[in-house]
Symmetry: C2
Amino acid sequence: MRTVKMIVEYDGTDFSGWQFQKNGRSVQAEIERAVGQLFQEEIRVTGAGRTDAGVHASGQVCHCTTTTPMDEKSISRGVNALLPEDVVVRDVEFVPKEFHSRFSAKARRYRYYISQGPAAVMRRYRWVVGYALDISAMQGCSAAIRGDHDFQSFCKEQAEVNHYRCTVTKAEWEKSGQDLVFEIVANRFLHGMVRALVGTMVEVGRGYRSDADFARICAAKDRSEAGMAAPPAGLFLEQVFYE
Amino acid sequence: MRTVKMIVEYDGTDFSGWQFQKNGRSVQAEIERAVGQLFQEEIRVTGAGRTDAGVHASGQVCHCTTTTPMDEKSISRGVNALLPEDVVVRDVEFVPKEFHSRFSAKARRYRYYISQGPAAVMRRYRWVVGYALDISAMQGCSAAIRGDHDFQSFCKEQAEVNHYRCTVTKAEWEKSGQDLVFEIVANRFLHGMVRALVGTMVEVGRGYRSDADFARICAAKDRSEAGMAAPPAGLFLEQVFYE
């Protein structure tokens, strides 16, 4: 048996998310089908992170085990030929059998794209806010996000976790034309965390809340204190880091 | 009567092009409908360039005449509220009555985006070539494009023009991650010219043709000598320049 690591890109628009679902198209099921068909065996893939419906990925990572004798390049070409056009395998690599895409991951990087002005092009990949935002106020919030904090206020209810602490090593807004891009790197992410953070920061950027409110929300450990979740279209899982 | 200049962005994917057509959704018709509804009068808009089906624009320019007493900001907001989500008016300006979006234009800028690797995200806005291209060979071609030349070899049959000379002030490839971007500025563009140029340069970039072939094609003044037209999805009308 060999363990195969794959880096996957997908357009989340027409998916109900990464994870297999009974009634909905999932990225995981598409990959399991394509890889299984190529290897002529039953395949189960595990992803590093479960992206929600409509969320995109340029660097999702998943792995599976197989008995195939095929080499990496042939797997990559073969799987891509069998995948639908909104999923692509960017890289295939054989890894030690200890490798686990989720549990071996040391950090993940997400980006969130906002269009301040109205936008026709790229609206699949942006939150079209349609208003000028106060980026310096939003930078103030992102400074408060960096470091080791309890992010319960930015987490959807989730039975599986036993604590809400995350170590954020990067959290920063950048301007790119009329777009604003938020980049965040952390050791772990709670369910809905990036979208809740962005949604709340945009409320600060529009002047509905102050920086001080933001600090208070963080301290409250209560999801109802934070703002609305930003829409999924703007969010990309960019990269998963391993040792 | 006042003349209104509008800068328009659109996602060309679901349009049969800029220009009004009997059987097909056109950007022009959508704008005429929205502006006419807002002004409560019959409106005809004229565009600076007729983009083909599937071609996008971030900076198309059009104009119309009207008796409306509304100010620029109200027009912009009103029209955007009435347009479908794949068309947006980015700017509205009252201009002297001599202004004509097409005949007053001094130059136009287009960009063409290619993805060398496989791509799932952005495939509406890219030509997904899926192979590494020899960018320095393509740069050689773009150098040959710059200047004052006859571009008949890169023009779809077109009864309306009486000559094929264009003055190209910029023609350049740039690398951006795994994407290649071609930017071209010229005083005028012939029908299908950018897509024919890009299609031919990609054949050079894949090694099917040489730089020398490219120079010969330019000299031949025969469309059948050039390569296939690059697909519309990668092409953007970026900007129209006026005095």
